[in-house]
Amino acid sequence: MRRSAREVALDLVSPQRAVFLLLVVLLVAIVVVNPSFAEPGQLMRFLQRVAPVAIVAMGQFFVIVSGEFDLSMGSLVTAQVVGAGVLVGQDGSRTVPVLALMLAFGTLVGLVNGLATTFLRVPSFIVTLGMMLALLGAVMFWTGGAATGNPADEFRQIGRGGWREVPVLDFVPYAVVILVVLLVLALWYTHRPAGKLHVAVGDNVATAHHAGVRVWWVKTRAFVISSLSATVAGVLLVGYAGVHPSVGRGYEFTAITAVVLGGVVLGGGRGWIVGALAGAVVLEALFVLLNYAGVPSTVRSSVQGVIIIAAVAYSALDFRRRRSGPATTSPAGGDAAPAPGRGGDTSTTSPAHSGA
């Protein structure tokens, strides 16, 4: 990878890397508004805060890149948070068994999502929408409104604690360590044969099937990963903020937005997990910047909306250029005998892929 500085710079402003550019701009702006943000301790605390969202976005990444949606993540986070409060209670020794139970439950939810999508052939948008309603209803029904309190501190330390007085970094939250470990794991997985298949399935299901790929299993795996990531995020959030039925609300949309901001294409087949991660950091950094800048809380959603549309439109520029090939109006774009059939480049002319 010998590249000139100019190439690197061009790459950074290329639509595909838009999210990183946006991230840099936001971070610089934050530091300008509040220089203390650049202190290691502050940065670490910021990352601690980002960790749950980032982990959820990384989970959603696998589902989206496999060509599906997971709308049930927010409800699952809530269910796990409330469940942890009830199950651990004040007994710190239950931490490990409850963690195991939560992971098992997450796996189960992912399996149900995945199998209903692949075997029942219900669009994942609908499957996970149903799961979203049912999960939240079930946990509220079970706990009578989730009024139970925070679990024992041992459990909460996972999301709240960390190593203090570390040289240079000052404070290293466990959440950041978990985030880094999961990122490394995810990167490793995306380079494994099994991980690569998610992108392949999302790109072209028929090709994958003709190549002997167990499509149902690849997609189900993605749902299990996303449910597990929601579970981990739940564990961290219990620690970070405590138990409340509104924890996790809207996380599914935040995660999808983060993933799309990160250059991942809804409908699948294209994307980089680091982009999804960066998308999550961008959303949280935007929140921080608006806080620091004292922007009235009512107009913040407007700012978010504009930035989301602008960023995604900018990265769509690139997508269009690459997809349409040299013949500017050719629907098929690159072959002597292109079949203008559906197997080819429908997205060139497709106004919108709803994806699911």
């Binding site: 167990r214 149902w216 999808i256 799309v260 959603s301 995604v312 059939g341 197997g343 709803s354």
Partner: protein, 354 residues
Amino acid sequence: MNRLRSLDPTVVVYLALVAALAIGALLVSTVGRNFFSAGNVRDILTGMSVLGLVAIGQTLVVLCSSLDLSVPVVISLSSLLAATTMAGDPARIVPAVLLTLAVAAAIGMFNGLVVTKLRVNGFIATLGTGLIVKGYLDTQYKGTAGTVPWEFQLLGATGLGPVPVSTILMLALATLVWFVLARTRVGHQMFAVGGDPVVARLSGLHVARPVIVAHVVCSLTAAGAGLLLASRLGVGSPTVGSQGGYDLLSIAAVVLGGTLLLGGRGSVWGTIGGVAIFAVLDNVMSVMQVNPFLKDIVRGVVIVAAVAVYTRRTLHAHRPRFGVGGPTDDGPVLGPADGAPATGQLPPAEEVAR
């Protein structure tokens, strides 16, 4: 299953609705109530009106293979614009309605242009639009505002027998949209663009146009829902749209009504059937005084189960040459051969076969 397969999707929706009605009537009778009494029928129909209006527009958007998640804020904004413009003065009803529809149309146009010209996925585009408008609502309106004059309130409170005027209007709009889909070029183009944009282009269509029209109409029907809500509430409310969760519910109703989430196939009457199923479900659960949390569980399960029934009978087979088919009757054997269907969204059989 095979007989089910040959039926029109809309028929299946209404069969499901009849089943829901039958079960509902039975359940309701166990608590000593009459399911078909005027008050109960009115309750069901009222429950259909607002969601029905939103879902009619959403049907068009989904048919075009897009989504509209901005409907809740459009509903809220419309109720506020209408109520504040009317300000209790009957003479201002007409300008208020026109202003509301114009603003909604502009939002829909924005959605449509972002989707077609900037090529932003409908999901993200309308999510973003929703956020933008939400910021405006939160900044501009601190709670309910405006007053709806009595004459306009009649719209939401009047009924012909057990049938609320709002339901009649909703059904009239459904008829109108059905007409647009069946009898106008732009309607036909929506099916084409959603079904296969490449075929649409090769057939000489400008693929952006029907998508934009669908988004505009969707915002307009959402505005209609906002006007209806303003009439029922007597005021405008910045939260009335999000209270109902109309974004996801309307999409669920559309899919429940047999419209393909990927676009290209569906019908307004199916959507109305889907909305009716939801309304009956809600009515029965309310009469039975089901715990509200339990209601959500039932809704979630019903949505998935119902759509599962429909999709089992969708994809049409590559015409067999020889009679004896065995398992191959199931159409393109892309997935189940190794014991697993490949996916929820295979390309249609014709494509795979060729």
